[in-house]
Amino acid sequence: MVDQRKDEGATVRSGDPMEAAEVRGEGSGRVEGRTQREIIWRRFKRHKLAMVAGIVLLLLYLGAIATPWIAPYDYAEQDFSSMSQAPNLSHPMGTDQLGRDEFTRVLYGGRVSMLVGLGVGAFITVIGTGVGIISGYYGRYVDSGLMGTADFVLVLPFIPVLLVLGSIFQFNAITITLVIALLLWPRMARLVRGQVLSIRDQEYVQAAKAVGVSNFRIMLRHILPNTFGIVVVEATLIVALAIIIESIVSFLGLGIQPPTPSWGNMLTDARSQMTTQWWLTIFPGLMIVFTALCVNFLGDGLRDALDPKAVE
C-alpha cells in the first residue's frame, strides 16, 4: 500500500534547531537534505489509515490510564433497579444481569487487555532483540544454543501450554504478560538474528572492530540501531497478537479471573445471556477487534515507513 505521490516542497528543511544539531552530531554536516527521521515521518504521514490508527490507539491508551476518572460508574457497582438494560442514554453499552454498567466494565477490561498487549510487546522487544543480536553476532555454539532454544519453544503447542500454565498459576495481568512473552519471544529473536547476520560482516562493523571497539559497544551502537525497523514492526504485530491471546485464555476461564474484568472474561459471562442480551457479547468483542485492528494498521504503516529500500 505504498502511495507514490510526488511530494511538494522537497528541499525545505525543518527549522527545528534540535534536529539540525543532531544532523551535525552525526557528522553529515548542514546539508539541504532530510534526516532519516524526517524521511520516515514523511512516509508514515502518507499512510493515512496508519496515522488515524495511531491517533486512535493513543486515545485508547490515554482512556485506559484515565479510566478511574472518566468511567461513569464503578465496575463492581450493582444497581438492581437497572438490570439487563439494552444500551440507552445513561448506560451507553447497556447493563448486565447484576445491573453493572457495561461501558464502565469495557473501560476497566480494556485497561487489563491493553496493558497485557503493551507489556508483552515490551518484554519481547527486549528479550527477542537481545537474544537475536547476541545469537547473530557471536554465531557458532552461542547461535546454535540460543536458536535451538527458540526452536524448542516454538514446538510447544502454544494455546494448550498457556491453558495448562493458567490452571497452575491463576493468572493475573502481570503473570499472563510474562508467560505469553516467554512463549512468543522466539519469533522476534529469529527475525532479529536474520537481520544481524546480514549486518555483521558489513564494512562499517569490520572497521569498528579494527579500531578496537568492544563487542558490547559494536552490538549496542552499530548493530542495534539497524535492527530498529523490523523490531518496531514485529513488536506492533505482537501487541495485537497478545491482546487476542489474552482474550482467548480469559474467555476459556483460565486467564484473568473475575471480578477483575478483561475483554476476554466479560465474554465468558456474556455467552449464557447471548440471545437475550446481545450488547454484552457485542461491545467487549468489538473493542478487541477494533484495538487489534488499529495496532495492525499502525504496524503496516510503520513497515512501509521504515523500509530502507522504499523509494521516497
Binding site: 500500500m1 526452536d151 524448542f152 514446538v155 510447544l156 503447542p157 502454544f158 494455546i159 494448550p160 501450554v161 491453558l163 495448562v164 500454565l165 490452571s167 497452575i168 495485537a240 487476542i244 482474550s247 482467548i248 474467555f251 476459556l252 483460565l254 476476554g264 465474554l267 455467552r271 447471548m274 440471545t275 446481545w278 457479547t281 457485542i282 468483542g285 478487541i288 477487534v289 487489534a292 485492528l293 495496532v295 495492525n296 494498521f297 503496516d300
Partner: protein
C-alpha cells in the same frame, strides 16, 4: 538427500523427547488427581497411600516419567484418573470430530485463499486487492471465539427466528446423514476457516508477487507465451511452494484453534477434551493431548522441510 531426511528425522525425535519431559513436568503441576480423596474425611491415610501406589504417584518424579515414557513410546498413555478407562480410548473417540472439523475448514480455506491470493497479486492495488487486504487485516485482528459467537448469534439464532426454520445448529455434533452433519459442521468450520483464509491469502499474494517479478517469468512473457499460460503454468506452480509449507505448518497447530472453536460450539473433539481434563485435574489426559500436540507440530515441521526439499531444487542439504 536421504542423509538430509534422516538427519532431520533424528533431530525431530530428539526435540520430541525433550518436549515430552517439559510437558510431563508441566502437566504434573496442573492438578492433583487425588484432591477429592484427600478432602474426603472418610478416606483414611492408608487408603490414600494404597491408591497413590496403584497409580505410581508415590514414586519420585523421574521414575514416574520413566514409567510414563516406556508406555508412551508404545503409544499407551496410561489410565484416566476420573473416568475408569484408559486414555487411549478416550482420545480415540474424540479424534474424528476434530479431524472432520479441521479437515473441512482447511479445505475451505485453501480453496478460497489460493485463487484469491493469486488474483490479488495479478491485479495488485485493484479494488478487489485493497478490499482483500482490509478483510485479511480484519481476520488477523479477530479473536476466533468472538467471531464464532457472532456467527451463532446471527446465523443460528436470529436467522432461525426470522425464517422460522433452523438452518444451522449452534452446538453439538451429529451424524444423521449428510444434511444433518452439514447443519452442525458449517458454523464451526467457517469460523476456523475465516482466520485461515486471512493468513493463507496474504501469504499466497506475497509468494505470487515474488514470482511475478522474477526474470524467468519476464522471459516467458517475452518469448510470446499467453498471459494465462505464464501466470498459471510458470507463476502459480512456483508460488504454491511457500503456501504448501504454511498449510502444512498450520495443520500442526490444529490444537490451538480446536480448543477455542470446539468450546464455543460444544464440538466433542480433542480441544473440548483438553478444557474438560484441565478442569477436572485429570492430568494423564491433559498430558497425552499436549504431547500429541507437540508431536503433530514437530511432525508437520518435518513434513514441510521434506516437501520443500522435493519441490524446490534450490534447497541445500548441508
Amino acid at each position: 538427500m536421504l542423509a538430509y531426511i534422516v538427519r532431520k528425522t533424528l533431530s525431530s525425535i530428539v526435540v520430541l523427547f525433550l518436549a515430552s519431559i517439559v510437558l510431563f513436568l508441566l502437566t504434573n503441576l496442573s492438578g492433583d488427581p487425588l484432591l477429592q480423596l484427600r478432602q474426603n474425611p472418610q478416606v483414611s491415610g492408608e487408603d490414600l497411600r494404597r491408591i497413590s501406589a496403584e497409580y505410581g504417584l508415590d514414586q519420585p518424579i523421574y521414575v514416574q516419567y520413566g514409567i510414563w515414557f516406556k508406555d508412551a513410546v508404545q503409544l499407551d498413555f496410561g489410565t484416566s484418573f476420573k473416568q475408569n478407562t484408559d486414555v487411549n480410548s478416550i482420545i480415540a473417540r474424540r479424534i474424528w470430530p476434530t479431524a472432520l472439523l479441521m479437515g473441512s475448514s482447511l479445505l475451505l480455506a485453501v480453496t478460497i485463499a489460493v485463487p484469491f491470493g493469486v488474483y490479488s497479486a495479478i491485479k495488485k492495488y485493484s479494488i478487489i486487492d485493497k478490499l482483500g487486504t482490509f478483510a485479511s487485516f480484519l481476520g488477523y485482528s479477530m479473536p476466533i471465539f468472538w467471531l464464532a459467537l457472532i456467527m451463532q448469534l446471527v446465523l443460528a439464532v436470529y436467522l432461525t427466528n426470522w425464517l422460522g426454520t433452523r438452518i444451522f445448529y449452534v452446538s453439538g455434533y451429529s451424524m444423521n446423514g449428510i444434511v444433518d452433519l452439514l447443519q452442525h459442521l458449517t458454523l464451526p468450520a467457517l469460523s476456523l476457516a475465516v482466520i485461515q483464509i486471512a493468513e493463507f491469502s496474504r501469504f499466497q499474494r506475497g509468494a505470487m508477487l515474488d514470482v511475478l517479478s522474477s526474470d524467468y517469468l519476464r522471459t516467458a512473457r517475452a518469448k510470446g507465451l499467453s498471459r494465462r499460460k505464464v501466470y498459471l503454468k510458470h507463476g502459480l506452480r512456483n508460488a504454491l511452494i511457500p503456501t504448501i509449507t504454511i498449510v502444512a505448518l498450520s495443520i500442526g497447530t490444529v490444537f490451538g484453534g480446536a480448543v477455542v472453536t470446539e468450546t464455543v460450539f460444544s464440538w466433542p473433539g480433542l480441544g473440548f477434551l483438553l478444557i474438560d481434563s484441565l478442569q477436572k485435574g485429570d492430568y494423564n489426559v491433559t498430558r497425552a493431548l499436549l504431547v500429541i500436540g507437540a508431536a503433530l507440530i514437530i511432525f508437520f515441521n518435518l513434513v514441510a522441510d521434506i516437501v520443500y526439499s522435493f519441490v524446490d531444487p534450490r534447497v541445500r542439504y548441508d
